[in-house]
């Protein structure tokens, strides 16, 4: 009997080996450098951009290994909600979305107070007065157009409702894109736009694509002549040679500040704060400018082809009102689509 059992060993052991081989990657990594900490970051940054940020941060902070989970803001929020339900949030840092989202997380105790230094170098409107989050880049939503199809783009949000643009507009889905959800609330609160404008916009049959990236692609490829899209997506495509140009609407430019914060559940508060601090440091902001973002610091320069902040009519609505009205605004938009 004993003999028979030993012969069975390979059958049982090999699957076990297979299993441990799978986990081997992580444990081996940890064994090489016992002091190494793993920092998990949830972000909606494009993959290539967050990869560069992580590389620069890891270079400056030896011993911290950053693991990134990238998804659209809507997906991140669902994941965080599900994790909260099942116990604790498994990320240390969140870098995504818009102020209302962070205000909600701060209010329900999900965020820890930040312990950082660079926030004093920023304009106060990009820093949470209660110290839970800090804005990391300015992402305005603008009107892009295909230069092959149009010689001049729509000058304002109001002009998008004109008949000439019927069926030619692409825009991101507010269920998926955090910036789009935010914009929907801002448009509704602007007295010059509001519900009437949004009804007319939807009556112009816009193509609702998943997120800002595909909107930029659609305008650049010419499948939509006009796109409501965050400005860096359009500027980057233009820099690579796509026939796309950027127009900052005269009736006001809504923007999100892609805030960053550290979760209260995090076991890595120190490294988490270091990461957030790095994002708004001069080095971090210079990297942001290289990545075509408008920076939150004045000493980091401006990306090529972008206007100075002072030239843009940025809309600064009351964030609490936006936070309160965002879900309703998105529901209203979705009800128009049906």
């Amino acid at each position: 009997m004993k003999n028979r059992l030993t012969m069975l060993a390979p059958l049982v052991l090999i699957p076990m080996l297979g299993l441990t081989a799978c986990a081997g990657g992580e444990t081996a990594g940890a064994a090489d450098a016992p002091a190494e900490k793993t920092l998990t970051v949830y972000t909606s940054e494009p993959q290539a951009k967050i990869d560069q940020i992580v590389e620069a941060f890891e270079k400056a902070n030896a011993g911290v290994n950053v693991e990134v989970f990238r998804a659209a803001t809507g997906e991140l929020k669902t994941r965080i909600a599900a994790e909260k339900e099942s116990g604790k949030i498994s990320a240390d840092v969140i870098l995504a979305a818009d102020v209302p989202t962070f205000e909600a997380y701060a209010a329900d105790g999900s965020l820890a107070k930040l312990d950082i230094e660079n926030d004093t170098a920023l304009d106060a409107k990009f820093v949470d007065a209660d110290g839970f989050w800090v804005g990391t880049r300015i992402i305005p939503t603008i009107i892009a157009y295909n230069t092959g199809a149009l010689s001049e783009g729509p000058a304002s949000w109001a002009s998008l409702t004109e008949d000439t643009y019927k069926g030619k507009i692409a825009m991101p889905n507010p269920d998926v894109s955090g910036a789009a959800a935010f914009n929907t609330a801002v448009w509704l609160q602007e007295s010059a736009l509001g519900k009437g404008w949004m009804e007319k916009l939807v009556a112009n049959e816009p193509t609702v694509l998943e997120s800002n990236g595909p909107v930029g692609q659609a305008v650049a490829a010419g499948s939509s002549e006009v796109g409501i899209v965050v400005d860096y997506v359009a500027r980057e495509l233009a820099a690579k040679g796509s026939p796309i140009a950027v127009g900052y609407p005269s009736d006001g430019v809504p923007y999100v500040s892609q805030p960053a914060g550290v979760f209260a559940d995090s076991q890595n508060q120190e490294a988490g704060n270091d990461f957030v601090d790095f994002l708004i440091s001069q080095e971090g902001q210079k990297l942001a400018v290289e990545q075509s973002y408008l920076p939150v610091r004045e000493d980091a320069g401006v990306p090529e082809g972008a206007p100075a902040l002072s030239e843009i009519n940025l809309l600064d609505p009351d964030q609490e009102e936006i936070a309160a009205g965002q879900k309703k605004a998105v529901d209203f938009f979705n009800s128009l689509l049906k």
Binding site: L11, P15, G18, C22, I50, A71, E75, G213, G241
Partner: protein
């Protein structure tokens, strides 16, 4: 392009035909002497180990799904009209595409296997190309080809035609599902065709039948079980695909159950989408089981005596026109989209004109060296490798029990090993999502590994079982009479006989799992992003250049890897 080229997916084909002759090999195999079953016998230890593993890998996720799916909170989801619409879309697109795929597969099988079409061997390899490319990459290729300002619409515009072709929407989903499943139908039907002995056709000919009469009165009726098997296989596969409906259907708000579940999990308005997801998973499970049961009720296979395959049918005057038509449609469906994908990967940005000077390796270099893609490749290789090893060992154990031991639990073992292959990937993913917190593996790579093993186990079982069943058990009897215990004979002799087939099965698991999307996208967690998810994310985030560059690399690796595996397996089978 040797003469063996067709049998590229030899294993898949065996798998498919095995499933068609669902009764299993116990009856078909030369009857082994009774062994096993005695308490304390080594075989029963093996049987126990296998059953414990099966209970964990297959039983537990399905039980969790059924349990969660019948809870009152879960049932509420059926009141949602969106679910009804998605269910109708799923069934309709799967039915439509399975019909198209079976039709195309049958026509191709008859033309390429039984007619005197010139250049058959090259054509066989070409028509199987969509099988070697993951469906979501196929969808990306067609998006590139039929983009509003893509090559086709530019050409139409150039010809002064005002109509624009678009791949998006329900019809696009049906068409692309058919494109990616007809090779499977072709393989199943071709295998049935090869088993139809020529003497029946000869009899028809002697009685004065022409080519069309031989086709209509002899071949087609005998093919019916093969056609049915092909239809069911493609139906179930298409019921569960995620990539095509997500990329092609969603932009036009055409939702299927798979994309609906993804939506629930990815950006749901409720904080706990699991009950709803479990209910939808259960609905799909019931649908798949009904389809499988219905197929088992029908005549499983044409039982025919062996004999030489009939001579090639002469197509006469339509031979050349048919050949030209076949070449043109094959190039359009199998090759042109790949070129569109390649051009998208090689152009630096959308809207840049396609000229030689504008082509650059920028996208390919960028994604091939990016941290996200590299970790995706590593994760996929690790998970697929782990799944291949686990499936090979467990699958070998199951196949041994099924072919070399008579036991009352064999039918149940057969069903539990092969059922998951008939289940939509979505059902498997949801099952694992539900048991992950119980097992303490939530948000870890183990969930994906477990789901992969469950999904792909049947590939190994089927690739081992057929060859093992056809080898008589005389060698083991020799070992037994020389004094070896049943288990020893099994391990020393039978395992060695079956090892090559098991390895081939394992390689197929590796190559299938490494580019998997449906399961991984639903189970992804921080640090476990797979290659398929990496590509899907790049595409969704609008980096079409980067996504197609990575997709192009995967498509190339898949074509080369699977072609090579099949050629090797084929050579071994012929030796």
């Amino acid at each position: 392009m040797s003469t063996h080229t067709l049998d590229k997916a030899a294993v898949a084909q065996k798998a498919a035909t095995d499933r068609a002759s669902s009764a299993g090999c116990d009856t078909a195999a030369p009857k082994p002497p009774r062994r096993g079953g005695r308490p304390g016998d080594g075989l029963s230890v093996l049987r126990t180990v296998v059953w414990v593993l099966m209970a964990l890998v297959v039983g537990l996720p399905l039980a969790a799904l059924v349990f969660q799916g019948v809870q009152p909170a879960a049932r509420q989801v059926f009141g949602d009209p969106a679910v009804a619409v998605a269910a109708i879309n799923s069934v309709a697109s799967a039915l439509g595409s399975a019909l198209l795929a079976t039709l195309a597969g049958a026509v191709l099988a008859v033309l390429l296997e039984r007619c005197n079409i010139p250049s058959r061997n090259v054509l066989r390899w070409l028509v199987l190309l969509p099988f070697l490319i993951p469906p979501f990459i196929g969808a990306m290729s067609w998006m590139a080809l039929l983009g509003a300002n893509g090559p086709v619409n530019k050409a139409l515009q150039g010809l002064g035609i005002d109509a624009k072709l678009s791949i998006f929407g329900g019809w696009g989903v049906v068409f692309l599902l058919a494109v990616h499943s007809y090779p499977m139908a072709y393989l199943v039907i071709a295998a049935t065709l090869r088993r139809i002995p020529g003497n029946l056709e000869e009899a028809a000919r002697i009685s004065g039948a022409g080519t069309s009469q031989v086709l209509g009165t002899v071949l087609l009726p005998l093919l019916r079980p093969g056609l049915l098997a092909a239809f069911v296989l493609t139906l179930v596969a298409n019921l569960s695909d995620f990539g095509i409906p997500a990329l092609i259907g969603l932009p036009e708000r055409y939702t299927t159950l798979t994309t609906l579940v993804y939506r629930y999990l990815a950006s749901s308005t409720t904080s706990n989408p699991l009950p709803a997801v479990a209910a939808i998973g259960l609905l799909l499970l019931v649908l798949a089981v009904l389809v499988v049961l219905a197929q088992r009720k029908l005549p499983a296979d044409t039982q025919l005596g062996s004999g030489p395959v009939g001579q090639r049918l002469s197509l006469g005057g339509v031979r050349i026109p048919l050949t030209v038509l076949l070449w043109v449609s094959t190039i359009i469906i199998c090759l042109v989209p790949l070129f569109a994908l390649a051009s998208q990967a090689l152009l630096p940005a959308p809207g840049v004109p396609l000229t030689w000077e504008n082509l650059s390796m920028e996208n390919i270099v960028r994604v091939a060296t990016s941290a996200g893609a590299i970790s995706g490749i590593e994760n996929s290789l690790r998970l697929a490798g782990g799944a291949a090893v686990c499936c090979t060992v467990l699958g070998l154990g199951i196949a041994l029990l099924l072919t070399r031991g008579k036991h009352r639990s064999n039918t149940a073992l057969d069903v539990s090993a092969t059922l998951p292959q008939a289940l939509p990937g979505l059902v498997i993913a949801v099952g694992w999502l539900l048991i992950a917190p119980m097992l303490g593996i939530f948000n870890t790579p183990w969930v994906i590994l477990g789901a992969y093993v469950m999904a792909f186990l049947a590939l190994v079982v089927q690739s081992v079982r057929a060859p093992l069943a056809s080898v008589s058990s005389t060698l083991e009897e020799a070992a037994r009479s020389s004094g070896a215990s049943p288990l020893r004979a099994l391990l020393d002799v039978t395992t060695r006989l079956a090892a090559p087939a098991a390895l081939t099965g394992g390689v197929v698991v590796l190559l299938t799992a490494v580019r998997e999307l449906t399961i991984s996208i639903l189970l992804v967690a921080p640090g476990t992003q797979t290659l398929g998810v990496s590509i899907f994310n790049l595409q969704q985030a609008g980096d079409y250049g980067g996504a197609s560059a990575l997709a192009l690399l995967v498509a190339m690796a898949g074509i080369l890897g699977l072609s090579a595996t099949a050629a090797l397996a084929n050579r071994r089978a012929n030796n």
